[in-house]
Symmetry: C3
Subunit: 260 residues, 3 copies
Amino acid sequence: MFEARLTQSASIKKILDAIKDLLNEASFDCSESGIQLQAMDHSHVSLVSLTLKADGFDKYRCDRNLTMGMHLGSMSKIFKCSSNDDTVTITAQDDADTVTFTFEAKKQEKISDYEMKLMNLDQEHLGIPDTDFSCVIKMPSGEFARIVKDLSQFGESIIISCTKEGVRFSTSGDIGSANVKIAQTANFEKEEESVIIEMQEPVVLTFACQYLNSFTKATPLSNVVQLSMSDNVPLVVEYQIPDLGHLRFYLAPKIEEDEN
Amino acid sequence: MFEARLTQSASIKKILDAIKDLLNEASFDCSESGIQLQAMDHSHVSLVSLTLKADGFDKYRCDRNLTMGMHLGSMSKIFKCSSNDDTVTITAQDDADTVTFTFEAKKQEKISDYEMKLMNLDQEHLGIPDTDFSCVIKMPSGEFARIVKDLSQFGESIIISCTKEGVRFSTSGDIGSANVKIAQTANFEKEEESVIIEMQEPVVLTFACQYLNSFTKATPLSNVVQLSMSDNVPLVVEYQIPDLGHLRFYLAPKIEEDEN
Amino acid sequence: MFEARLTQSASIKKILDAIKDLLNEASFDCSESGIQLQAMDHSHVSLVSLTLKADGFDKYRCDRNLTMGMHLGSMSKIFKCSSNDDTVTITAQDDADTVTFTFEAKKQEKISDYEMKLMNLDQEHLGIPDTDFSCVIKMPSGEFARIVKDLSQFGESIIISCTKEGVRFSTSGDIGSANVKIAQTANFEKEEESVIIEMQEPVVLTFACQYLNSFTKATPLSNVVQLSMSDNVPLVVEYQIPDLGHLRFYLAPKIEEDEN
């Protein structure tokens, strides 16, 4: 028996909105410690990694390890039928071929349950090595989304250059070239509005706009995004999910031949 | 001479929004007692019935009975040119082939008049017998619209099951199955937020989502919708139009062979 | 060296939104006194004339007269990357083939610069003779936009009739006919909400809806629009750009043979 309960279905709605364009379907690995999802996007370029901790749920029970393959578009359709502050309970029998989502309105007079068929999906677990990154940038997630969206209009790749002073995002294309520079916040009061850079050594890396744009669909999850970069290893774009876990996206830098 | 005046054109805007997708054109039957419209939708499955009482208008004069065939899309275009709190006056000469809509802004400095050509439409008056219904449900119109919209994503029909305790809406399709249960409100203070069931005997009936969804376009007319059901007779979905009359939709239940 | 600085990029955003559908590209003529743009729309029917005075800018320097041909769609894309209250600086070297737009966020921690390639455009300067108009109408720009939009649904041309008492806009088409009358404001307190008519003699002129509708894209620039009309000369539709200059559209009346 698997059962997980959250008093606000909104968190899961936002997670689904963040990943359903990158992943058509995905396996949710449920164990005593929580729920894990790890999958390459359908063009096999970027990697999505989601961790939801058992103790972040209002109720959590997982008698036996369980892998549930779900179509994320269908799951998102179901969650869109709930109100943001509905309580959601996810239940599955051991060895079941369906999962049930039950939404209860706060006023308790409306109970909706949706039973969804599960899918058998190929599993591929990639070990992600721990890395010491050359630069780790924390910045407002909305600002990052805005910059990526703006620059995507002018070129296909974005060069991210990080030094102690700040971060520069740049691109160029038919219309011309674009540069956006944000400085490290000097005296910050609110951490979530600040740009904070931890740098071992400066990096200059190039990434495909298309994937960065997809990652920023996670913006509603958190006010802050963390970008971790080193030469020759994938960029990690991380959004904390308050009280519940985190969502990470991995994207390899473009190498020189690709850059034009 | 026909003349009808309302201080708020918004009511008629909302009526047109509610029916113009079901009916391309319709005959408005005007008499001393008010305006009546009755028509099958263009696929001849559901029936629309509108009653506007003469004394609901701020001014009403109808010297001779008069039937005006109107293209509802054109009529809606004209009403969209008015502001919600414009006064509207509808005038027609006896035997005229046009009708005139005059909108006056509250500040009186702007007067717009639109003269629209009338149409000759075949009339078909269906006698609607009075029925004692097994179940009559009053519920918030927004909740009904939400449930119908949500379930329409998962199946083509909705089964409505009504008992003394509450109403269950359910459907199933490729993704899985969905059930929404709403309980009768125990201690209600605001009638318009309550679910109130008058039941002679329980009913379980199946209806096509497509039509239920069209009916809910009338939601802005009223906070409450009334669903009246009996075996083997059409469902009646009724919206009161405050001070002015009511709009009713009739839809026959699907019989078993149709249900798959 | 050319440099022009405005503390709010919003004004230029609005100007671009107003003209970019009529003009694909345009030449900005920069001199000591300010910036001028004059161009026929791409179907060569209407004329756009923009004047931005040097002293309306927060900083303005133009060492040598300079004509910059710009693609307005690209320029608009760039300005949409700025926030409304960003400071914008436009810079170009003498004889440069690029122009640079630099946006600084009020908080100063974000600086974006966009370098755009310039275009070589054919110049055609039309002398616009000063005219004493038979009627000059000032009215709320939003009201004018609304009337033009409403009537455009019913016909292809709008007849504007102006007398001392007021202005009548009318059209007719397949559905029927439409007339909107607005009266001159008798006792006005707020000039920007009033209809003010200066009339030498009454005029009745017909214009193509399509162009009038395009002109009303300038509505966000000003609360007031001024319409100047005389027989046989183009209508002038003028929007003041507060502190900075004005945007004018010219459109010849339709002659009788066109009116069908």
